[in-house]
Symmetry: D2
Subunit: 366 residues, 4 copies
């Protein structure tokens, strides 16, 4: 479970009956339908040859917490039944853990009882539950004018600085790109890079960037529960995520203070930062600038080439080769997942922040 | 509070009475003295002209949870009284928030009631509490042969790949370097870089790397509480931290799957990875390789140069200039903090992992 | 969510699609089948004219966390679809909140968006999820020889001190009684009392007692997470529960210290208490005696008699009369729920306690 | 730690350096001084021959979280140094655990490393930390017009139904009574009962009742985090508490539905309950009536009479006899502790409830 007020747990297995999410603490009255969640889930769906050919027509059954189209205030359970699952490959490699995956560590940790098919509960498949829960969070954020966008800013060696723009147009540009990159020219380069790697049976890493517009100043609870800190936790939990950074992130390590500092200036009488190197967070608290976070994804571990591993039954080294349906670059399909997780964490911190506002009126008498 | 079994909360203010940590859930019988904690805290202490001239002779008073030199099993409260505090600078700039710091956001979030001196409870000063709690965690890890090291691998534009070595010799090399970099030649470059920046009244960013040796396979609880995920949360909560990555991290975004994958091989009959691009974690679970995590720190925001800000009383733009004692590169002093936080998270996950082992014996009959 | 290691969340609505439980942190390898859980659920099922005539053939679908008959170590989701639901009564009284129920407060708290049929998510129906989760917990306790029994010790004015006996025979006696009271003579009196109340369209309160045998000494984490403290939380969360007490409980308020104290004595060289007035817990920690806890249940609020309420639409006082299927005494059906919740809390504390045992060996060298 | 938004942890030992509380999540701007907390603590102080002669002039040092007389929004640490401590008795009985206390179980659980003097961290002494934290919570409740009172309603065989009255006059009557019972005639009986027991070197149990006035309808989060459920957890964690009940509590077990139900009526156009058998909570949610909760306390275990125990060193049965300063009835001193814990839980739920209110405006447009 993550979150303090808006709380989310995910569950399920890649090749089991299905996956889903439990959302606790969601306020009542929020419009929520299976259609809307399905629409959000469709963003995860590969729509082109660049991503995995596995057809996922995920249908989110809302099993509790919604009554006549609105959240009830009780726990919301969303379940997505698995379909179209062929586990034969996993039976073959049952004793031959795929390098880069959690197959081996799961076998050791769970004493061999874990569902080894498709990674079991340690699988990108579970992020469909995240997207479902994020769909609910986004509805809550909408009410307060907060909008979250995520998009690909790097695939392999092709990367670009993309200036996010608040508006549905920007979201359309993201999702009209097969690689979820809103810059058509960069996207084209990325597609080339991907095709080349695919032709060689290889995969590529990538970076997903997320931006939050219109955050109030003051979300985040330092010293231990900063907004960035809580975001880092969930983003690193996405399968394949190996790094997270805010604003200029690792770039700041190579900068001087005089360059890095975001000076405070007045803008139409409002205090604002002249630059956003910090990514909209100071000391764990949102500072009114767009929140900017990047997540690094490793290349897909399952590739169509021979990779060394160990046959755990025979206890001798061996070779396996990927087969079946795998995204050549998981960053692409991680785009809506990053957006969902950011939405969930922001929704939780928004509620925490809202809890204090009536106290403020009492104290300041305003 | 962080942690599920080994739980830590920190508190205090930079210029208030003091700072500290509350540790709940620590097992009894662990040797713990104020001397030992003080020794750990001394690692945070600047020992040379490259770090802040503020003298911090921190003495950790153990106010509860230790009896006759051993932990009791009850909550441990460690308090470190502040000394040598001059707040005059902060009175001067009370209405002129330092860019890059949380001054402005704290004022907005806390409606002006926060302690604005030295950042109040949003200050690097609170990391002394983290180090104190980490001292306890390290004792617990020691019993299981788990060792954590952290060190500087980048300052400004000087960076180096440093191969960590398990042993007290390595730790000595780290702490004998004024910049906490165990490679003397790299350290020398870093010192030069730092001196140059300091001469210009400027500051530098940096990267701290941490390594954990001898972790059992199996720590971490995906899908939501992976070891890396929990580490990311606490590491980003360190003031100044703007990025975190595991293994090759953001570098993996530019790699191909065929390069990135850590193949499983047999080593003296034991399954092990031939490389460690993943940093010792697969799918949120420790994989038996050394855990490798890097934390990017922004350059110190308080510099000895003029920086633009807003006078919040007069509501007009103005200029402030740093004064007093400030580390030119906070990464250096963050070294023991990173080590402490990693130790705390690993200790918590170790206990969670231990909880299952007696169940294992019952199930497997071994 | 309750629990720290063995964690349980329940969800669902009385007249919605169904109800269920999510179990996180359960160790792998534990045998678990839908048949076994169904068997446990059947204990909740009314089997005789004394309880509600609603037919509940609950079938627990295990949607995740079990693979080939064993727990995987991942999250376990159990879902029980609702059947045989007639909501017409609730439509009629939609604006006439049933006194004693949460109808009115739910309407106010959830701004009218809650599912008002059968209490929505504030319904005894959700305890089927508790029983399902308890079934898992009991399997874990079984491995360590810990056994939990619960039974009715009071219905209306008929009550009895029943000496619990460890063994399946005792459990059989409980479940062979229509009122879940293992003493046939007392049970007979209870049945009479119930029939009388039912004949008058009325309902009765009752008390459920639970006993835990074979608890190791040392479960519970004072000062804030005592075993009794965590039990009290979950037991009071059962719909209809209005009181909880340990050992002689409220009776101790009228006793003298000299009577109440359980003296320590030697029994075959083992330290044990000569009496069990404290109910097996001292200072929040299990003391090796059978744990004894009692839960008071109010009489069923829905009775077949006219009760005053307010028509919230017309805003005038009115009268409603129960109709349909309602247990005349909810304590009877709460029996397996109490057993399940006690099992869940004990399982969680058992795992916490197990986590420390390997540390003990390291410290004491035994 | 308890609580989700207003979070409290207590720590310390009876005969160690001191005890205290850490409060996280408290909103800023709340007036808080050591004097005010000391005043609250003085209510715990025995002021007459009926309670323990140990002089406790507790002075609460606020070590963090308060700046210029107001809370800062950061963690608040309150520490109360122990004084006037004579541990000689505990050295004598070190191996002779006091029956009724946690001495023996603590020794087993903590492998002999716990502070055995005065119960160590399992001691009524730690409730001073609860009272300190409660003092903060009460300030928050004050702003919303919520008032909490607690008082003794039973000592030994003397008990009385006392109708609570909202107002400072009522509080004065409570604290002007040596037994914290606001009815002078009942108090007189209680004093007699106590004197008699004391004369015989014995102790008495008792019941503390708490009432909360002016709670909004809607506090509490079923199905798992009801207001009553969270209250039960903390109240049972008070040393010596062995039972908790809401409204008529265990009395409801003997009642019929027709008597027990609190009918809804209109009162000046407002929906209200005609009786309060449920104690102000329906289905875990506050219903607008005064909240009524009772806590049963066992008689003080340390009595001035010989009690059997086991010499754990010699492993033979022996006899010990209390000595020194012990309250003959702990319920009396528990009065402000119950009030504090109720205030803490209500403050936490109030904040959770407040968090939803701005969402309500957005949804209902009011």
């Amino acid at each position: 479970m993550i979150g303090r007020l808006f709380r989310v747990s995910i569950f399920g297995e890649s090749h089991g009956k299905g996956i889903g999410a439990l959302i606790e603490g969601c306020p009542p009255g929020i419009p929520l339908s299976e259609d809307y969640v399905a629409e959000e889930l469709s963003r995860r769906r590969p729509g082109n040859p660049l991503t995995s050919p596995r057809r996922e027509e995920d249908w989110p059954e809302i099993l509790s917490g919604v009554f006549r189209g609105r959240t009830t205030g009780g726990p919301i359970l969303i379940f997505i039944r698995n379909r179209d699952v062929d586990s034969s490959f996993y039976e073959e490699i049952r004793n031959k853990p795929r390098p880069g995956h959690a197959d081996y560590v799961a076998r050791v940790k769970y004493w061999g009882f874990n569902d080894y098919r498709g990674g079991g509960h340690i699988s990108g498949r579970l992020t469909a539950g995240v997207v479902a829960a994020g769909a609910v969070a986004k509805r809550l954020l909408d009410m307060f004018g907060i909008r979250v966008y995520s998009y690909v800013t790097q695939i392999g060696n092709v990367s670009a600085d993309i200036e996010p723009v608040d508006g549905e147009e920007f979201r359309k540009m993201i999702y009209s790109s097969p690689v979820r990159c809103p810059s058509p020219s960069v996207a084209e380069e990325m597609v080339k890079e991907l095709r080349k790697a695919m032709a060689e049976g290889d995969s590529l890493g990538g970076v997903v960037t997320a931006t939050v517009f219109n955050l109030p100043i003051g979300l985040g609870e330092p010293p231990m529960d900063g907004l960035d800190s809580d975001l880092a936790k969930v983003l690193i939990s996405i399968p394949g995520a190996k790094g997270v950074e805010f604003g200029k992130g690792f770039g700041l390590a190579g900068m001087r203070g005089s360059e890095a500092i975001d000076p405070w200036v007045l803008n139409d009488g409002r205090v604002t930062a002249a630059s956003n190197n910090m990514g909209g967070v100071n000391g764990g608290i949102s500072n009114g600038m767009p929140l900017l976070v990047k997540v690094a994804f490793k290349p897909t571990s399952t590739i169509m080439r021979k990779v060394p591993t160990v046959d755990l039954e025979a206890m001798r080294e061996t070779i396996i080769k990927g087969r079946g349906r795998h995204d050549p670059c998981i960053a692409i399909r991680a785009v809506p997942v990053v957006e969902a997780y950011v939405s969930i964490v922001v929704a939780d911190h928004l509620l925490r922040w809202l809890a204090w506002q009536p106290v403020r009126s009492r104290i300041l008498g305003d």
